[in-house]
C-alpha cells in the first residue's frame, strides 16, 4: 500500500501547513480539524508540493536525519493520505 518512490505527493485541496504564533507550533489545518505534526512530519509535509518525488524527499531528509529510511517516510505519507490530507497519485 506504500506509495511508489516516484509518486509526487502534495497536500490535498483544503489542507495547509501553517505556523501558529499563539502555540509557537506548526499546525496542519484541514476541513475537519487540526493536527500538530512532529518535526519529521513537518519536514516531510513542507516538501509535499507536488514536485518532489517520495524518493527525493527521502534523500533530502537523510541529510538531516541519518536514521530516516525511505520506508518510514512512505509509511507517514500513507497514513496522511489515508486521512485524506495528502494526494499521492503521480499525475
Amino acid at each position: 500500500m506504500n506509495p511508489p518512490a516516484d509518486a509526487r505527493p502534495r497536500l490535498s485541496r483544503g489542507t495547509r501547513l501553517s505556523f501558529d504564533r499563539v502555540r509557537h507550533a506548526h499546525v496542519l489545518l484541514y476541513p475537519e480539524g487540526v493536527l500538530f505534526p512532529n518535526q519529521t512530519a513537518i519536514d516531510v509535509l513542507r516538501r509535499c508540493d507536488g514536485s518532489n518525488t517520495v524518493a527525493a524527499i527521502a534523500d533530502d531528509l537523510r541529510h538531516d536525519y541519518r536514521a530516516v529510511e525511505l520506508t518510514d517516510i512512505a509509511e507517514l505519507l500513507t497514513q496522511l493520505s489515508a486521512r485524506g490530507l495528502l494526494e499521492l497519485d503521480s499525475n
Binding site: 501553517s18 489545518l29 480539524g33
Partner: protein, 368 residues
C-alpha cells in the same frame, strides 16, 4: 479536575445570523431564534475573531442560520484570513451566486460545507420548505467547484431520507464533492420538537450502515463520513470532546456558549462577548467551567472506566431528557434514565406521520 487550566480552544463556531430562507424541520438551531436587530455588527464579529485567534482558535466555522444572509460575509472572511484562521463556510447554498462565490473565494474561504436535504428533489424541497431549493443547491455546488474550492456535502439523515443513501452518494459524486458527511439527526432545537417524525427504525439503520459500507468500498474519490444515530447506540457520543474542551460557539447576538445547543440549559448564567473578553469567557465564565473535566459527575459516570472516553455524553441531552445536566447522558445503557430512550426507540418502530413543523422565527411583533 477542579481548578485545572483548560487547553486553549482549537475552533470557534460563529453563528453569524439566525436568519435563513429555509425552514428545515430537522434544524438544530434553538427554538428561540435571534432576530436581525440583535445581531453583532461587522466590527464586533471581526473583534471576536481577532480575540479568538489570540486565544488559540485555528479553525473558524462561519455558520448560522444562513451566513449568506449577512452582506458583510466576505469582509468577515477576509478579516479572519488576515488573522490566519482556517475559514470554513457552512451554508445551505441558498444565495450563492457566481458573483457572491467569487467574492468569498477572493476573501479567502478555504472549504465549503454545503447542506442537502435529500437526493429526491421533491422530498428535499418539502423538508427545506422552499420550492426550487434543491435546484439552487445544485447550482451552488457548481459555483463552488468551478472556483476550485474543496466541497463537503452535509446531509442530515432521518426517517424520511435515510433509505436513499445510495442516491445521495451518487448525487454527491455528480456534484464533484470531495467529502460527504452523512450525519443522523441530533435532537436539539427544532429537531427535538420534530423528533417523533424524524426518528428512523432499527431496520432503516442497519440498511443505512450497509449502504455506507457498500458506497465506501465502491467510491474511491469521495470520502464518506457517517455519524451514527445516537439513540440507537449503547454508549453516548463523546459530545464536543468534553464540555468547553476544544471549541466554543458565539451566537448571533454575541452570547458565548460551550456548544451550539447549550442555551437550553437555563440554569447556566448567560455571558456575552459584548461585555466580557473571549479569554475570560473561555477560562473563567461559569457556564464554561460548569461541566469541564469530570468533577461535576455523579453515578454512574463518576466511577465508570469510560468517563475519559465519552465524558458522560451530552450535557444538553441529559438536561433536555432528565431535567438535570449532571446526569449521565440518558443514551448510556448504564444510565437509570435509559428507559426514556428505549421508549422513543420502540415508538419509532411504529409508523409516524411525516409532517415536520417548519423552523421559523417568531413573528416580529412577539415580545422577547
Amino acid at each position: 479536575m477542579p481548578g485545572a487550566t483548560p487547553e486553549p480552544p482549537l475552533g470557534m463556531l460563529a453563528e453569524l445570523t439566525h436568519r435563513c430562507p429555509l425552514q428545515c424541520g430537522y434544524c438544530s438551531n434553538p427554538l428561540e431564534l435571534v432576530g436581525r436587530a440583535e445581531e453583532l455588527n461587522t466590527a464586533q464579529w471581526c473583534d471576536v475573531i481577532s480575540q479568538a485567534r489570540e486565544l488559540g482558535v485555528l479553525q473558524l466555522h462561519l455558520s448560522g442560520g444562513e451566513p449568506l444572509q449577512r452582506p458583510d460575509l466576505a469582509e468577515i472572511v477576509r478579516h479572519a484570513r488576515r488573522e490566519d484562521c482556517y475559514v470554513n463556510l457552512v451554508t445551505s447554498g441558498f444565495g450563492l451566486t457566481p458573483e457572491r462565490g467569487g467574492q468569498l473565494a477572493d476573501a479567502g474561504v478555504e472549504h465549503v460545507q454545503l447542506s442537502l436535504q435529500d437526493a429526491d428533489e421533491l422530498a428535499a424541497d418539502a423538508v427545506a420548505g422552499a420550492t426550487g431549493a434543491h435546484r439552487r443547491k445544485r447550482a451552488a455546488a457548481d459555483v463552488i467547484t468551478a472556483l476550485g474550492l474543496p466541497l463537503t456535502i452535509n446531509v442530515v439523515l432521518h426517517r424520511g431520507n435515510v433509505d436513499r443513501i445510495p442516491d445521495i452518494v451518487e448525487l454527491a459524486e455528480a456534484m464533484g464533492a470531495d467529502r460527504l458527511e452523512l450525519a443522523h439527526t441530533q435532537y436539539y432545537g427544532w429537531a427535538l420538537r420534530n423528533r417523533v417524525r424524524l426518528m428512523p427504525t432499527a431496520a432503516q439503520l442497519s440498511a443505512a450502515e450497509a449502504a455506507v459500507a457498500e458506497a465506501r468500498a465502491r467510491s474511491s474519490n469521495l470520502r464518506i463520513g457517517y455519524v451514527p444515530a445516537d439513540y440507537h447506540e449503547t454508549y453516548p457520543k463523546p459530545c464536543m470532546h468534553g464540555w468547553a474542551a476544544r471549541q466554543l460557539t458565539v451566537a448571533p447576538n454575541g452570547v458565548a456558549l460551550p456548544c451550539p445547543a447549550a442555551s437550553v440549559i437555563d440554569s447556566l448564567p448567560v455571558v456575552n462577548v459584548r461585555d466580557t473578553s473571549l479569554r475570560s469567557i473561555w477560562y473563567e465564565a461559569e457556564s464554561f467551567q460548569a461541566f469541564r473535566g469530570t468533577s461535576w459527575m455523579r453515578e454512574p459516570c463518576v466511577s465508570c472506566a469510560r468517563r475519559q472516553l465519552d465524558f458522560g455524553g451530552c450535557r444538553c441531552q441529559a438536561f433536555q431528557l432528565t431535567g438535570d445536566p449532571t446526569h449521565a447522558d440518558p443514551v448510556c445503557s448504564l444510565s437509570p434514565h435509559r428507559h426514556l430512550i428505549d421508549e422513543l426507540v420502540a415508538n419509532a418502530e411504529l409508523g409516524q406521520a411525516l409532517y415536520l413543523e417548519p423552523r421559523r422565527m417568531r413573528s416580529a411583533a412577539a415580545p422577547r
